[in-house]
């Protein structure tokens, strides 16, 4: 009856969201008087999950599962859920988790609620708070099915340490050829750069930057902060920046600790997408820009003067605090 978590890893290393979902699962397990069991795929440091309250790890070591495969991973999790007699499965809101969760939900006839931002409001009935209307609102959603799947939003519940000793057991799923009918041919992942999905800080540019040739300072600011770069919808529509950087209601959501918007006016669709960020800074030469109503800190000024100055000040700050 344990709570089961899908702990994501990349090249053997757990992602930050693995520890976030473990933290969340520990809270749910406490509420229900049970323990947390994790399923890991070709991970190296399974015992590290114990720090976040995982007391048992079902360790899958299988070369055919080296690359994420939604159907096959869902099969494994369904088998693990059965072996553990689990009724609650917790995963993240990453692209991989959102690919896998609906497959698992259909297999287990489970209610699935993604984008959950807080510990359950209650466990009987089982009610969770999630974002809805693309971050323009929240919903309290009851899951009434016997088996429940929860997708935890990134950077919402956070990391909570609850050190226990994690018993690592090998888990050998049985997978048919059918599990691999959707094959990964090539993965093209940016390495050595923070991604919008998991960055603590995101630096974003809008039409106020006047052209793609002016993105050097955005990238430099991001470099200094160890941040991911993003952009507004018009910027990606005009081809100044790739679609993968478009944040907003129809682009990617941002839930970083700090979001810095440069030359972005703050259309309602953009603000919806970045609403989950904790601290918002806007730099814009128009004091009437709607973004100033949504931001925590703002500078009214010319981005081409303010941003280079900000980069200098941050470098000084880093030198002092190194």
């Amino acid at each position: 009856m344990s709570v089961l978590v899908y702990t994501e890893s990349l090249k053997g290393k757990f992602k930050k969201n693995a520890f976030e979902v473990a933290s969340y699962a520990h809270k749910v397990a406490q509420d229900l008087g049970t323990t947390v069991t994790a399923v890991s795929f070709n991970a190296e440091d399974d015992a590290s999950l114990g720090t976040y309250g995982v007391s048992k790890v079902l360790k899958v070591s299988d070369d055919s599962l080296k690359t994420f495969n939604a159907k096959a991973y869902a099969d494994v999790l369904a088998q693990a859920a059965k072996a553990e007699d689990t009724k609650i499965i917790i995963l993240s809101s990453s692209a991989d988790s959102k690919f896998l969760a609906p497959i698992l939900a259909a297999k287990l006839t489970a209610g699935y609620v993604p984008n959950v931002v807080a510990a359950p409001e209650s466990t009987s009935p089982f009610v969770v708070k999630r974002t809805a209307f693309s971050n323009k609102g929240f919903a309290m959603t009851e899951i009434s099915s016997d088996t429940k799947i929860i997708g935890v939003s990134s950077n919402a519940f956070g990391l909570v340490e609850n050190s226990v000793s994690a018993a690592v057991e090998d888990f050998g799923p049985s997978l048919g050829d059918d599990a691999f009918s959707v094959k990964s041919v090539e993965v093209d992942r940016v390495v050595g750069k923070a991604t919008i999905a998991d960055a603590d800080i995101v630096v974003s540019g809008g039409r106020g930057l006047k052209g793609p040739e002016n993105w050097g300072m955005v990238e430099e600011l991001a470099d200094v902060l160890g941040a991911a770069t993003a952009c507004s919808k018009p910027v990606s529509d005009m081809g100044w920046r790739p679609h993968s950087e478009h944040v907003g209601q129809t682009g990617k959501p941002v839930a970083s600790n700090l979001y810095i918007a440069i030359g972005i006016s703050g259309a309602i669709q953009h603000l919806a997408g970045i609403n989950a960020s904790k601290v918002k800074v806007v730099i814009n030469n128009d004091p009437e820009a709607p973004f100033f109503k949504a931001a925590d800190y703002g500078i009214v000024g010319d981005a081409f003067e303010v941003v280079p100055e900000l980069i200098e000040k941050l470098k000084e700050f880093k030198a002092q605090n190194a």
């Binding site: 690919f99 993604p114 993965v187 940016v190 682009g251 669709q269 703002g298 000040k313």
Partner: protein, 248 residues
């Protein structure tokens, strides 16, 4: 090739969101409804398959009669026929089961849905649909080519993209990238006139599970006023972010 495009009827992206009836319902008052943007990218890609590869394209929506203007718009864009499952979309699992019935009765090779609707954001309909029908599934799809029974799809992943090889029958969770924003079509007068004559079949729902229910909604908490820093004193921003906001 027979394609089914699943469309959701959602508030326009510029809509302000309010709730009514003790915050238990979305307030549709004054709201303009449109084809869910993620679905519209898929519909436009389907038009490409129709024009270049001779595909037949049907659209389907699970909703009440009030969604018909949105369905007619999809027909005006170029879909050949439409189906409306006459039921309120209670949750993603419920909708996927209704769609599964439509797919079974229609013998489709390719089903394109949006990766999520921009209103309830469940993000589960295409994946559940594919699994119920034992079809292949690719989510967050930003590129799709079909050659005979073989499909090559590009999937957006966190921090990059993945090329995927699979086969029909296939369900796609689509988004921007399937086509570009500039490829989206505004229905012309001829399309609108023709759409009036195209078939829009209304079918009754099947019994289906509804494992989740939204009990109550709330709006994000109102924000305090912005703290302005003088453009001549950028160092103060660094200090505030470090000492007050504690984010650097």
């Amino acid at each position: 090739m027979k394609i089914l495009v699943c469309i959701s009827n959602v508030p326009d992206t510029t809509s302000k969101i309010n709730f009514t009836e003790g915050d238990t319902q979305f307030d549709t008052n004054g709201v303009q409804f449109v084809i869910n943007p993620n679905d519209e990218f898929g519909l436009t890609r389907a038009m490409w398959f129709k024009e270049k590869q001779g595909a037949t394209v049907h659209v389907v929506n699970v909703g009440g009669a009030q969604t018909e203007p949105t369905i007619r718009k999809a027909l005006a864009i170029g879909a050949d026929a439409a189906i409306r499952v006459n039921a309120e979309p209670k949750d993603g699992f419920f909708v996927a089961q209704q769609l599964a019935e439509v797919v079974k009765n229609g013998d489709y090779d390719l089903i394109i849905a949006g990766r999520e609707s921009i209103d309830y954001n469940g993000g589960m309909v295409p994946g559940i649909l594919a699994t119920l029908l034992d079809m292949n599934f690719v989510n967050t799809c930003i590129g799709l080519e079909i050659d005979g029974d073989t499909a090559t799809a590009i999937r957006e992943i966190d921090g990059g993209k993945e090329t995927i090889s699979t086969s029909l029958p296939l369900v796609i969770g689509g988004q921007k990238g399937l086509v570009e924003e500039s490829d989206l079509r505004i229905p012309n007068m001829r399309g609108i006139m023709m759409a009036r004559k195209k078939a829009l079949n209304v079918v009754e729902p099947v019994d289906a599970e509804q494992p989740t229910q939204d009990q109550k909604f709330e709006k994000p908490a109102a924000k305090g006023p912005v703290k302005l820093v003088d453009a001549g004193n950028v160092g103060e921003l660094v200090e505030l972010l470090h000492n007050e906001a504690k984010v650097i």
